[in-house]
Symmetry: C2
């Protein structure tokens, strides 16, 4: 593998693989969509597992599952029930405020997104399945806001989920194997997050969405997601700042999804090289959700990580005026076990949105 | 399993499982989006395998791969190359007509949609990953048309792919096992399809999109996709007719994606029960693509099935005026091997679009 080394560290040493880009395709494309009608996040909630409920954000989570198997015969079934509870909670909470949601946009990490489909089949709502791994929630929010802004729907539910045990079984090893985790690993968050967007009602407003490109800097360690995803976060974040003509200091909070400690350190360095100093207002959901003494190594990951932190911690802070403008960039690693076995590197993506308080 | 038997046949005997629908959520929702600006399909193409090129549509396919491994070390790599060729071909063909496409919307059948991601990482375009199994192409077209109609983009590429060998390995058994196929099985089509939609230029116009619901009638045989998907096609087709106020006779062609012989027979029966007689103008891409003597049992399936038939056979017939108005409903089975092993039934979805000639 040859290329430019972009980061060297004790647990991370990766190079940019020269990718055979067809130069004829390269272009300066516009990636940011602006919404002209106010698209409110009228209700949002999360269902989380016991580990998440013992972390630094414990007092913010309202729906907690002490047994992450929920008494079911397998973890996949438990994930479906958690997701179902989160989606129904947001639909039920939104109904008195803005009426029935008319569409569900969702995705999850399991093969063929079965969790989403098994929940959607019981809801009698049209369904759009979206996938960008742990960036699924911002992808769903971007499309939901687009459909509302364009006048096709008044209210749309957006949701995602991840579960520690199902993700470990699928992407790494079943828990029963008792495998050791490397020090740069992250911990997949057991959480489902769902919200209802609406042209009616009140609540934080989605102002814009910056759709990410698939970025691959040549990382191929399936345990080191933070290092793989940081370049994708950098790419979308630079585009967001450039196209919206906003700089880091224009945001009260710049939030990435699940880079973890290592990944967010890399992102800070990468952004510094691009001329952006991410100050104290930069935080990562993967770092926020677990404390150091919870043995989660670099922090949380998974589609439910940023969805639960955004829904239960950040959105209420936008609502009460603590944060006036937030950039929220979830980050997804797009590999499969098959592709990793076949020696492929890990492509990643980050979709970002700008959320503002109602009176900004 | 108890419920109402909806179809009995030699190779198919399934019942409607009573699903615990939360009645409070049920509603009469609107599923059809209408596009007010003309969204043209300015260019469309497919890359197909040798088996597809030997079928009844052989004279319509322009890009054919005699070796479906493309000389690569594995089939997954070959699928990436086929997809890459199809997407680049549509981008390159569209460029002189409408300029550069500004976004890629795509998905595929492999776990975590790696084929899409590995192609997107080389294209320097923002990417939206969508998944609804073999209905992915109509989902992508629906969202592409929405984004163009809303004015966010001028030109958007939509694409999907499937590959016989990678699908068999992932969903059933690797080819090397030499397993026998049941008589109601279908054959996953090896094909990649891609098109460019644009507000500029010329070509068939997407008038509306009807987003499907996830429907599960209790079928749990992973080899019998047609029977599983037919109820989803029925649900969306009835909604499309009802909401657009059009009936089967208003269409020159009503096209489903990949129900195959058995599945399309079931669909005809289900639609008859709903009061719609699908006449001679009803066809299924899975039936069109292979001839009986090709040993494909019930016909073709896979996301690339309807994408290739639509792109290379149907769209040119709309262009030359043979068909003036076409209803195109791709159909997707949303199970994973994991969910089937765990005893779950197969939820399905169908997203439908209406395409018209430019001068209708």
């Amino acid at each position: 593998m040859s290329g430019t080394t972009i980061h060297k560290g004790k647990n991370c040493n990766f190079v940019q693989v020269p990718i055979p880009v067809n130069k004829a395709v390269r272009q300066e494309s516009k990636q940011t969509l602006y919404f002209h009608k106010p698209v409110h996040i009228v209700t949002a909630n999360a269902v989380v597992g016991n580990k998440e409920a013992e972390g630094p954000l414990k007092r913010y989570f309202r729906r907690i599952k002490e047994d992450i198997k929920l008494g079911e015969k397998n973890f996949e079934r438990a994930e479906i029930l958690m997701f179902d509870e989160a989606v129904r909670a947001s639909l039920n909470e939104a109904r008195p405020l803005v009426g029935n949601a008319e569409l569900l946009i969702s995705g999850d990490l399991l093969n063929q997104m079965t969790t989403s489909s098994y929940v959607a089949r019981n809801l009698d709502l049209p369904h759009i399945g979206v996938y960008s791994a742990c960036s699924t929630y911002t992808e769903a929010l971007s499309l939901g806001a687009t459909l509302i802004d364009a006048g096709h729907f008044t209210s749309v539910a957006c949701a995602t989920v991840s579960h520690f045990a199902t993700a470990e079984r699928q992407f790494r090893y079943p828990l029963e194997y008792g495998c050791q985790r490397p020090p740069y690993a992250q911990w997949t968050v057991t959480a489902a997050g769902s919200c209802v967007l609406s042209a009616k009602g009140e609540g934080p407003v989605i102002r814009s969405a910056t759709l990410g490109k698939v970025i691959d800097f040549g990382q191929n360690d399936i345990s080191n997601m933070g290092a793989a995803m940081a370049p994708a976060a950098m790419d979308t974040m630079c585009t967001l700042f450039r196209e919206t003509d906003l700089s880091p200091k224009d945001f009260d909070l710049i939030l990435t999804g699940d880079l973890g400690k290592l990944g967010s350190d890399i992102l800070r360095n990468l952004m510094r090289e691009q001329g952006y100093e991410l100050g104290q207002q930069y935080k990562d959901c993967g770092c926020l959700i677990y404390s150091v003494d919870q043995n989660c190594y670099q922090g949380g990951s998974g589609a439910g990580c940023s969805a639960s932190v955004m829904n239960e911690f950040v959105l209420p802070r936008i609502h009460d005026g603590t944060y006036k403008r937030v950039a929220y960039l979830a980050t997804g690693a797009l590999m499969s076990t098959q592709s990793c076995y076949q020696g492929e590197t890990i492509p990643c993506i980050s979709h970002g949105i700008v959320i503002e308080g109602e009176n900004v």
